[in-house]
Amino acid sequence: MTGAAPRDISKMKVNRKSVWMRLIDQRYLMLMSVPMLLYVLLFNYYPLWGWRYAFQNLDISTIKEGAAWIGLGNFEWLFQEELFWFGFRNTLAMSLINLVFGTASSILLAILLNEVSNRTFKRTVQTVTYLPHFLSMVIVVGMAQNMFASDGPVNSLLLSMGIIKTPVWWLGDGRYFWWLVGVINVWKEVGWNSIIYISTMTSIDPTLYEAAAIDGAGRFQRILNVTLPGIKSTFVVLLIMNIGHLMEAGFEIQYLLGNKQVFDYSQTLDVFVMEFGIQNNKYGRAISAGMFKSVVGIILLFLANFVAKKLDEETLL
């Protein structure tokens, strides 16, 4: 197949025939893959056909007799809707907070763990910090509501330390919401996200550390000059991937933790779609918002991939 075969007609025929023959030979591989292909087509591609509703006035009253085409009407409405732009802003803000603090905290944890010489202690820390990753968001939000209640432990602690004079209304003040989500996400995922950095660090050539030690580098210099460069490529790849997922700020945590008071800050595009699509049954408008989000997401992903290629790191596709 791959050889530089002469391009004469008879050869092509043979080739084409051999493809069919090979397909027959590979009937078991087809049996194992084609049904799954159909499954993917149904559950991942067929819904894209639903995007046509973004250009129709589909809602609860028109869904039965069939909606009419209204061109870009839904998008016009969308781009004038303040709540949509709030959702867009909140999505990006919470994504970025998550990205910066999530990455920084997990690298920091990885470095600290990398410096631990006692294996049992290291394993214990790891096991404990993985734990929140396995809790459902419902549980995590429930705990957060306990911790951050006006009379909860966080306020008690801050009051007793004299950092604040009156209890802070963490759950009802929009200004705190993004940061609250950031803190909760870090708490939940810091251990889990550090896994990849830890494993990268363990693959750093130990002679590099020895060489640095001989050069008289202290611990911090070794971290600075050996560990950090060692995880640089992993860091860049993950960073780029995460930039590609900037539109995915999450749904569950904002939906569960949000309330009317913090609505302007809690609502992400996913929550917006839920509110307008499911709650108000304005399917056309909700789909246009979802489509906007997906398209921006795809653009970001391809941009990220393009940048990654340019940087000569591993490609993502």
């Binding site: 006006s150 009802g172 008071q261 499911i278 049954n281």
Partner: protein, 544 residues
């Protein structure tokens, strides 16, 4: 003679039809959704057993859990309709989505005389523009004389112990009210168990945010028109929103003062309805603005626990004269108004609409109304002479949530059409309206409380009901034609009013208020224009 014959014939027909239905058709299970939280009746509930015996109908009830609009939206999206569909405060959604059948296709004078008599007089008020009726009002249809022992609607509430502590003062104005609560809490910061008192609670959840946004109209001396004040004196029915007016600011300034004095807990603005009810039931909330029916479960829980001093007294407050709006005369009580579009509708997915109609028809009979509202004679009440009476225990049972789960068909009673007012023989339709029961079986605490004021009934705190305006009560107007703007109009209030109340000082409050007014004005204008037109339409309809 012929008239009598006709009546007999109709009766015979109805009964034979009902008998036929039960004899021939098997027992069906009807799915029910109720747009309010509630408790599942027990399997051996005696009232549901009786219904099953007579109508051959069993119920599978789903109560609201979580957000109403989201729940209804999900059901509508999936066409996941129960047979009997009570959409609670968002029932317009069901109607506009075409989820309910037109009841007038089934209700007429001959087949369903009870239902027909029930609605015939108010039909113009409750049908839509096409003359269709999807929901029979679950409340507000009175027979004979309306009975009003207590305020069942909006009022400012305060725990009776607070009034008792201050030696039963007459509290008529907003300032008096907050001064009283402040004094009480200064003298009694916690209850006997050491739980801190909360001065004033404001329920803001979902559509129940009326506790936050409605009070101003009442402080200005008007009954409940929702989010507008209608001028009923000029004959032009000028309609205006009040929340963006300076006279509304005064109220939120007062709340801000209360907040900064520690009377209001900020958590109140994110409290769910269940949390609110739980809080009231614990007896630690001293006051709130609400409507009596909205916290009935809390009152019942307090009474069952014997915490009468923690139950609430309704007060019709107005602005003090010093606010500069003159001496305002309170008008909280209004004439009876049918609860338009609230109650059971029959969904288009229901396989047996006729039997549902026959169920409502049957339940509206005198026999069943007594069963639903009073219970079984000799068991839940007794008759002396021709008066229907209850023993103290029977009356107490009626307040006991656990007892009701076993012995009352609460959901059916609440959502189905019912008779209110007075029976032909002079007894009240509702056991709680019956004078003897109300006064004789009132707790000793309540008796002493009322007599300290020299009153016979809680409604004596109020001026007599005014005549219902020709447009009814403006909150009933369906806003779906301007739904998006209306939602915005409400959302801006939901978001700004708490901020205003929680302002640190007057300067911040002024700033917040101005920002609020600037933001809400365009929506208030759209809303005002819409409501003005609707009010005029209704007035015209009523005067035709």
């Amino acid at each position: 003679m012929r008239k009598l014959l006709a009546v007999l014939l109709t009766l015979a027909m109805v009964f034979s039809f009902a008998g036929f239905a039960v004899a021939e058709e098997e027992v069906i299970t009807v799915t029910v959704f109720r747009g309010d939280p509630g408790d599942q009746p027990t399997d051996d509930n005696k009232m549901y057993k009786l219904i099953e015996e007579e109508f051959g109908i069993k119920f599978e009830i789903e109560f609201l859990a979580g957000d109403l609009d989201e729940t209804l939206g999900t059901k509508l999206a999936g066409e996941d309709y129960p047979d009997l569909f009570d959409g609670g405060n968002s029932a317009e959604k069901l109607i506009n989505a075409g989820a309910l059948i037109n009841l007038l296709d089934y209700i007429n004078e001959t087949d369903t005389p009870n239902l027909w008599n029930h609605i015939k007089d108010i039909l113009p008020q409750i049908v839509n523009e096409k003359g269709e009726l999807f929901i029979i009002p679950n409340y507000g249809i009175n027979y004979n004389a309306q009975i009003q022992n207590a305020c069942n609607g909006p009022a400012f509430f305060v725990q009776k112990q607070v009034l008792a502590w201050a030696d039963y003062p007459q509290i008529k104005t907003l300032n008096e009210y907050f001064d009283l609560i402040e004094d009480f809490i200064a003298a009694n910061p916690t209850d006997e168990n050491g739980a801190a008192y909360e001065g004033f609670a404001i329920l803001c959840e979902d559509w129940r945010h009326f506790c936050l946004i409605n009070p101003v109209q009442h402080l200005m001396g008007r009954p409940n028109d929702g989010e507008v004040i209608v001028n009923v004196n000029t004959g032009n029915w000028e309609t205006e929103t009040f929340i963006d007016k300076p006279y509304a600011k005064a109220y939120y300034e007062k709340l801000n003062e209360a907040y900064n004095n520690g009377l209001i807990n900020p958590d109140t603005f994110v409290m769910t309805y269940d949390q609110y009810i739980a809080k009231l039931s614990s007896g630690t909330v001293l006051g709130m603005f609400d409507q009596t029916w909205d916290f009935g479960t809390a009152t019942a829980a307090l009474e069952t626990a014997g915490m009468y001093e923690n139950t609430y007294c309704a007060l019709p407050l107005v602005y003090d004269e010093e606010y500069g709006y003159g001496v305002i005369s309170e008008q909280y009580l209004n004439g009876a108004v049918p609860n338009k579009d609230r109650g059971f509708g029959i969904s288009v997915k229901c396989e047996y609409p006729e039997r549902m109609i026959q169920l409502f028809e049957g339940l509206l009979s005198d026999k069943w109304q007594k069963l639903l509202q009073w219970g079984i004679e000799g068991e839940d009440y007794y008759v002396e002479g021709d008066r229907m009476l209850m023993t103290a225990e029977q009356y107490a049972n009626r307040q006991d949530a656990a007892w009701k789960m076993q012995n009352a068909a609460l959901t059916i009673w609440e959502s189905a059409p019912k008779k209110q007012g007075t029976q032909d023989d002079g007894n009240a339709w509702a056991h709680s309206d019956q004078g003897e029961n109300y006064f004789n079986l009132m707790s000793d605490y309540d008796k002493a409380f009322l007599s300290a004021y020299g009153y016979k009934k809680p409604a004596d705190f109020f001026n007599a009901p005014c005549e219902l305006a020709p447009y009814g009560e403006a909150w009933q107007i369906d806003k779906s034609p301007i739904q998006d703007d209306y939602d915005k109009f409400l959302l801006i209030q939901d978001q700004w009013l708490p901020k205003i109340i929680m302002s640190a000082d007057q300067a911040e409050l002024d700033e917040n208020w101005d920002a609020f007014v600037a933001e809400i004005t365009p929506y208030a204008e759209i809303y005002t224009e819409f409501m003005q037109a609707e009010v005029l339409k209704l007035v015209e309809l009523a005067t035709k």
